[in-house]
C-alpha cells in the first residue's frame, strides 16, 4: 500500500521556514521551539505497517538525513513518542492505516518540546522533572540485607500497578496543556510516579513528599483536562494519580493553598445553597493573597458592566435539606 508521510523537520539542511499558526507572543516553555518546515514522502508498505516502519523506510531508502529515535519497536522502550496527526503517540504502536487523515499522516515534535533534530526531542528536561519527585523509596529504618526480600501485601501493590506501567515515553507531557504554558509544572508523568512512591507502604517520607508536591509547579498546577489520560499508551491515567495526590495532601494537612481553599469554598457553597456561588468562590479561594485578589478585580468589573455578575443574594434551591443530609452523612471534612 502507498502511504504519504508529512514530516515536520527541524533544520536538517539549514533551510528555515516559519511554522504556520504558531503563537509567538507568549513564550513557550522552551524558547528553543524551533522553526521548521514540512517535507512530504511517499512510501510503499504492507497494510499492517506502523508509522515507525514508514520513518525507518524513509531513512533507509530515501533520505538518510531524517533523524528518528527508536529502539525496541514494541511499545516498551519509550523512545519514539512524537506527535502523530497533532497528538502524542508511540510511532511503533500506531498503525498507518488508522492514522491516515485526508490521505496522509503527519509526524512532528510538539512545539512545547525542545527539539534536537527532526523527530528527536531532548528528553533531558523531562527526566529532570521525573528526578525532581524523588522516584525511589526512601526508608528511615535499615533496609533488609541483600539476600532478603522486602515483602509487602499483594493488595497494597495492586493499587500501584497502573503507575508502574509507565515507560517514560513523554507522550503525556507532549499533550499537557498546563506544561505548554508553564514550564515550571512537574507534569503528568513525574506526578504519576510521585503518587506511585507516595502511596507505597514501604516509603517513609510520605509527608515530605506531599508537602513538596503541593508547592508551585506541583499537583495544583494541573488544569484537569484529561489530555494525558487520553494520550498515555500504557493506560497510566496520570490525571487520576494527580487527583489522588491532591486528596492525600489535603488529608495530610497541606491546606494552605488556593486548591484546598477552592475545594472548601466550593463544598460550603453547595452544602449551603445546593449550588455554586461564583461571587464568593474566587475571593475565598485566593485567601489572603492580596496581589492575586487585586489582579482578579478588573475582570470582575468587566463582567459586572456586561450584566454578568451573579445575583448578589445567592438563592437556595428548593429541597436543600436533602442536600444537607447527604453532606451530614458522607461529607467527610466538608460536613
Amino acid at each position: 500500500m502507498q502511504f504519504t508521510i508529512e514530516v515536520g523537520r527541524y533544520n536538517p539542511e539549514g533551510t528555515y521556514a516559519p511554522q504556520a499558526a504558531r503563537v509567538e507572543s507568549y513564550p513557550p516553555p522552551w524558547n528553543a521551539s524551533p522553526p521548521r518546515h514540512v517535507q512530504t514522502y511517499t512510501v510503499e508498505l504492507p497494510e499492517h505497517a506502523v508509522v515507525l516502519d514508514a520513518l525507518i523506510a524513509i531513512r533507509e531508502y530515501q533520505d538518510e538525513s531524517l533523524a528518528v529515535r527508536c529502539a525496541c519497536r514494541s511499545a516498551i522502550c519509550g523512545s519514539c513518542a512524537m506527535w502523530i496527526n497533532g497528538h502524542a503517540n508511540l510511532a511503533c504502536k500506531s498503525k498507518l492505516s488508522e492514522f491516515t487523515e485526508n490521505g496522509k499522516t503527519r509526524v512532528e515534535c510538539p512545539p512545547s518540546m525542545p527539539v534536537i533534530r527532526d523527530l528527536i526531542w531532548d528528553m533531558g528536561p523531562f527526566f529532570a522533572k521525573h528526578r525532581n519527585v524523588r522516584p525511589w523509596l526512601e526508608q528511615k529504618q535499615p533496609v533488609p540485607g541483600p539476600l532478603e526480600e522486602y515483602r509487602v501485601a499483594n493488595e497494597s501493590m495492586e493499587e500501584l500497578i497502573q503507575e508502574v506501567s509507565c515507560i517514560s515515553c513523554g507522550a503525556c507531557l507532549m499533550d499537557c496543556e498546563s506544561y505548554a504554558v508553564n514550564a515550571n509544572f512537574l507534569g503528568p508523568q513525574a506526578l504519576a510516579q510521585a503518587y506511585r512512591y507516595a502511596a507505597d507502604p514501604r516509603d517513609e517520607i510520605t509527608n515530605e513528599r506531599l508537602r513538596s508536591y503541593s508547592e508551585s509547579g506541583g499537583v495544583w498546577d494541573c488544569t484537569h483536562c484529561y489530555e494525558c489520560v487520553a494520550q498515555c499508551p500504557k493506560n497510566v491515567a496520570p490525571l487520576e494519580q494527580i487527583l489522588k495526590l491532591r486528596k492525600m495532601a489535603v488529608d495530610a494537612g497541606f491546606t494552605n493553598n488556593a486548591g484546598t481553599r477552592h475545594a472548601d469554598a466550593f463544598a460550603n457553597s453547595v452544602k449551603h445553597s445546593g449550588r455554586l456561588n461564583e461571587l464568593t468562590l474566587m475571593p475565598k479561594s485566593l485567601g489572603f493573597n492580596i496581589v492575586e485578589q487585586l489582579r482578579s478585580i478588573p475582570s470582575a468589573i468587566n463582567m459586572m458592566r456586561a450584566g454578568k455578575l451573579p445575583p448578589l443574594i445567592h438563592p437556595v434551591i428548593p429541597g436543600i435539606e436533602r442536600i444537607r443530609t447527604i453532606f451530614q452523612r458522607v461529607g467527610g471534612r466538608f460536613k
Binding site: 507572543s25 496543556e177 505548554a180 495544583w220 483536562c225 475545594a263 454578568k308 455578575l309
Partner: protein, 294 residues
C-alpha cells in the same frame, strides 16, 4: 420530546444569557423542558476529587430525579455533562457504589436504579431531536460567518464514560452543526483543548495564556467568533478575554457564543432575546456579518 433539564449553576449565575437562550430554542426544537429545580451542583469534579462518595451521592440524587420523571437528563454545559457522565458510568458499572448511594439517599424520597441517560443538548440535536427537525427550524442561514468550535474538555474526555468509543462521531458534532447552520467551521488545534478555567484560581497567568492562545489561533485562521457548549469555557474565554489579551500582549476581540445562542440566531430569534448584548467581548462585529444588530 420531554427532557429532564439540568441547568447547571453557571447558567443561573454568571451566564444568565445561556439559560435565557436555552429556554428560547426549546420551542422551535420541540423540547419540553422539565427543569430539575431541586437538583444540586455536580461538584464540577472538585468534589469528586476530594470526596468521591459525596460526589457519587449528589450526582446519584440528580440521576434519580431524572429517572423519576421518566426522561433523559439534558445538560447545557460540557462540565456538567462530563461529571454526570462519569458518575453515571461508575454507578451503572459498579453495583457496590450504586448500593452505597442508595443507602445514603434512599430515605430522601429517591432511589437510583441506573437507567438515566445523560445527554448534552449538542448530542440531543443529532441523536434524539434529529437534524431534519433542526433544519426545519432554520429561518436565517448564517452564511458568511467563519465559526471556530470550542468543545470544552469534559464533553470529549474521558472517552469511556462519555460513550465516545461507541459514538466517535460525537467529536465532530460542532463542526457538522456549524456547517448545517450555513456558516463555515474553522479548523484549528485549540477546538478540543482546555480553556484554562479549572486553574484560574491556582495559576492565573497560565490559565489566561492557555485560553488566550486558542482564541488567537482561531482568529489567525479567520474565525469571526467561537461557539462553545460549555459556560465555564465561556467564563474564561469571554469573561477573562481582556485580561488574557494583556497576558498575550496583543488584541484579541473575538466574541464567544453559547451553543443555544448560535442556534437561536439561525432559528430567527433576535440578538436581544438571546442576550447577545450581555457579553464582555462585544458581539456586534460578528452579528453585522449576518446583518444583525445588538
Amino acid at each position: 420530546m420531554k427532557v429532564a433539564f439540568f441547568t447547571g449553576c453557571v447558567s443561573k449565575g454568571a451566564c444568565p444569557e445561556l439559560y435565557a437562550s436555552a429556554k428560547a430554542i426549546a420551542q422551535p426544537l420541540g423540547l419540553e423542558l422539565e427543569e430539575l429545580t431541586e437538583a444540586p451542583c455536580t461538584g464540577a469534579g472538585v468534589l469528586s476529587e476530594q470526596n468521591p462518595e459525596l460526589a457519587d451521592s449528589l450526582n446519584g440524587l440528580t440521576l434519580a430525579m431524572a429517572e423519576s420523571k421518566g426522561a433523559d437528563l439534558m445538560t447545557i454545559c460540557s462540565t456538567c455533562q462530563g461529571v454526570l457522565s462519569n458518575h453515571n458510568y461508575r454507578l451503572k458499572t459498579e453495583a457496590q457504589r450504586l448500593g452505597r448511594v442508595n443507602a445514603t439517599i434512599g430515605d430522601q424520597g429517591y432511589r437510583y436504579s441506573g437507567s438515566t441517560n445523560v445527554k448534552h443538548l449538542l448530542w440531543m440535536l443529532f441523536e434524539d431531536i434529529g437534524l431534519d427537525r433542526v433544519r426545519a427550524a432554520i429561518t436565517r442561514k448564517l452564511t458568511g460567518l467563519k465559526i471556530a468550535p470550542f468543545y470544552g474538555c469534559y464533553i470529549l474526555r474521558p472517552v469511556e464514560a462519555l460513550g465516545l468509543r461507541e459514538r466517535p462521531e460525537r467529536k465532530t458534532y460542532l463542526e457538522q452543526l456549524i456547517a448545517l447552520l450555513g456558516a463555515e467551521p474553522v479548523e484549528y488545534r485549540g477546538a478540543t483543548k482546555c480553556c484554562g478555567f479549572p486553574m484560574l484560581t491556582f495559576n492565573r497567568e497560565a490559565s489566561l495564556a492557555m485560553g488566550g492562545k486558542h482564541i488567537i489561533e482561531a482568529k489567525e485562521k479567520g474565525a469571526d467568533l467561537l461557539v462553545t457548549p460549555c459556560p465555564l469555557c465561556h467564563l474564561n474565554l469571554d469573561g477573562q478575554q481582556p485580561d488574557a489579551a494583556r497576558v498575550m500582549k496583543r488584541k484579541i476581540d473575538v466574541p464567544i457564543f453559547h451553543l443555544p445562542q448560535l442556534l437561536g440566531l439561525a432559528f430567527g430569534l433576535s440578538p436581544q432575546e438571546l442576550r447577545l448584548d450581555r457579553h464582555v467581548v462585544p458581539t456586534a462585529a460578528a452579528l453585522e456579518k449576518v446583518e444583525l444588530k445588538v
